[in-house]
């Protein structure tokens, strides 16, 4: 007995010895760490490369007043090209605004129904459908705006053009709603069940429990979900390019055609010479878009993190 246990100890590998496995473990640790920080490197890389390409314009032709306050985007004018993105910002803002007006109530309502009311098979079915809805590519949405919504709007409202804020707003709303619904549903799910049980024990109906207890508790998560939806709508490109009518315009009604910041880059980048002021101005719009979405995402993250801490 004693002998055999001694023998076993003698055969044990020396744990201080650095064998091949030890070195493999170290190498893998570094490789994995490198992949881990790749996300940070890529985000920095995106900012750096887009800025480098737009730098010439930023240093020479760029004027803060003209860029942000002039409604004239005429980069191809021979005599005096002007680079004002006011009308483009108005286009993006109006389409995103209308989309959110549609998407926010619908996704909040759907999220509450899926998370709090629906049960069993109905719930699974709705969740799957909403997930599939989020998967439809943006170019297909743009095509739907162009070929289905366009004639529908012309017939219904008796207007000459159906490619306008209304069209793009509805399309964008339908695109953003499923993403917002699933984030909001997660936020509602994160509210502990004991909150609901306590409220129900006090005699509250399902709706009273939701309204007085669950919604206040999930407030930050819901706000974060809405913000992420705004970010998605703001950065959407193909659908907006195809459904807005792509006319530079400060809109007066929802039936006006507009042009969005993202769509301008998509439509014009292919026609400009690399390094020309026009090309660099498009990259400058890119820096602007990047900064805005970065701020939106950062804010959403801070808000959502706020609840986890408290």
């Amino acid at each position: 007995m004693t002998q055999s246990s001694q023998q076993a100890t003698g055969n044990l590998p020396n744990i201080n010895e650095r064998n091949l496995d030890w070195y493999i473990d170290k190498v893998v640790q570094y490789l994995v760490f490198l992949s881990g920080i790749s996300a940070i490197l890529l985000i920095v890389g995106i900012f750096v490369f887009v800025t480098i390409e737009g730098l010439g314009f930023l240093l020479e032709d760029f004027s803060f007043r003209e860029f942000f306050l002039s409604p004239w985007w005429e980069p191809t004018d021979d005599d005096e090209p002007t680079y004002g993105i006011l009308a483009l910002m108005a286009g993006t803002a109006s389409v995103t605004g209308l989309a959110m007006l549609i998407a926010i109530p619908f996704s909040l309502g759907s999220a509450i129904y899926v998370a709090e009311f629906a049960t069993g098979k109905t719930r699974e079915f709705l969740k799957v459908l909403i997930e599939l809805l989020a998967a439809i590519p943006s170019v297909v949405w743009g095509f739907i705006g162009l070929s289905i919504m366009n004639p529908l709007i012309i017939d219904t409202f008796d207007v000459p053009v159906g490619l306008n804020i209304l069209n793009a707003g509805i399309i964008l709303g339908l695109m953003a709603a499923p993403i917002m619904t699933s984030i909001c549903e997660d936020a509602l799910k994160a509210v502990p069940d004991r909150y609901r049980e306590a409220a129900e024990a006090l005699g509250g109906t399902r709706w009273q429990v939701i309204y007085k207890t669950v919604l206040p508790a999930a407030k930050n998560g819901l706000l974060g979900g809405v913000l992420l939806g705004v970010g998605r709508g703001f950065g959407e490109t193909m659908a907006v390019l195809m459904a807005t009518g792509h006319a530079i315009n400060i809109p007066g009604s929802v039936f006006d055609s507009v042009r969005a910041l993202t769509a301008t880059i998509a439509a014009e980048l292919g026609e400009t010479a690399v390094g020309s002021p026009h090309y660099q101005a498009l990259f400058t719009i890119g820096i602007f878009l990047f900064s805005i979405t970065f701020i939106i995402n950062l804010t959403a993250d801070l808000i959502v993190r706020g609840i986890r801490k408290s």
């Binding site: 030890w22 493999i24 473990d25 809805l133 439809i136 297909v140 399902r206 195809m242």
Partner: protein, 298 residues
């Protein structure tokens, strides 16, 4: 007798009770209608695509070249181009994405640096697709001098869709119970041996659902490939990753907006093929996930 009636009285509905019940029913129906209204337009749209584009779908449509200025013929070069783009993007993003998820799930300490990585991942998914396109042009087409090629376009797509793989993989790794790791460490295994022999085999199906989702996302993206490697029309099929190619998503944009005198049904046909591919892949991913949930023993 009197006892039971007292209890009955206790649960008698007061006016307040009835009002609360009524408002509950009202809101339940309102929210149900909202959920239904969210889904209804999509069902209408899918039906329209099938009705108007269904007549286009045939072996010939899928496997022949576009002819007559893209107003007739099939979509084969675009279909093949999409396979190229998605394939190369996967080869780049899956290893890096899985490794990043392994780091976040198995190695990363809970500190500000890890939070910064998570924030970067959220941002990578949230940056507008057209900004990814600008990055692709600035970095891969010009700086690394790949030119407008499959390689440049696929790398742009890889950067853009990597968060999908990272998030799905991380979730799947974290669902492996901690006891599995401890048991393995106690046997004297190194961290990597534990990950390779125990954690990865137990989460490979979860990773697969993420990869399928990424394939679906990559298939539908248009803006990031427009200026980095996909072209409106190319008469020859790509021979290597340094060639340009056609792509299905861009092809839909082109036949819907850029080509004159396209017969009505053609873009519907292209859209139907694209949507079917994407929805099939997503359904496969969802089905796999549900199957796994049913099979889990811990």
């Amino acid at each position: 007798m009197s006892n039971t009636s007292a209890i009955d009285n206790q649960f008698l509905e007061t006016e307040l009770n009835v009002k609360a019940k009524r408002s509950e029913t009202l809101f339940r129906i309102l929210f149900m209608m909202m959920a239904a209204l969210l889904i209804l337009p999509v069902l209408i749209i899918l039906t329209t695509l099938v009705v108007k584009g269904g007549s286009m779908i045939s072996w010939e449509f899928l496997f022949s070249d576009p002819t007559n200025g893209m107003t007739e013929g099939g979509i084969f070069p675009a279909l093949l181009g999409t396979v190229w783009l998605v394939g190369v993007a996967l080869i780049i993003s899956v290893p890096v994405g899985v490794a990043a998820a392994v780091y976040l799930s198995e190695y990363a300490p809970d500190n500000w640096f890890t939070r910064a990585i998570n924030l970067a991942i959220i941002n990578l998914a949230g940056v507008p697709s057209i900004v990814h396109a600008l990055f692709g042009v600035g970095a891969f087409v010009i700086f690394f001098d790949f030119g407008t090629s499959i390689l440049a376009a696929s790398m742009t797509l890889a950067v853009m869709t990597m968060p999908v793989v990272i998030v799905a993989t991380r979730e799947s790794l974290q669902s492996v119970p901690h006891a599995f790791r401890e048991a393995c460490w106690n046997m004297g295994a190194t961290r990597w041996q534990t990950i390779r022999r125990v954690i990865l085999p137990n989460s490979v199906s979860g990773i697969l659902t993420g990869v399928i989702l990424e394939v679906s996302r990559t298939t539908g993206e248009t803006a990031p490939i427009m200026f980095t490697g996909a072209a409106f029309f190319i008469p020859v099929l790509p021979q290597s990753v340094f060639d340009q190619t056609m792509a299905l998503s861009l092809h839909l944009f082109v036949v819907a907006t850029q080509v004159p005198h396209v017969p009505d049904a053609l873009p519907y046909g292209v859209a139907l093929v694209l949507v079917s591919m994407v929805l099939l892949m997503n359904s496969a991913s969802i089905a796999l996930r549900m199957h796994l949930r049913g099979k889990k023993k811990w």
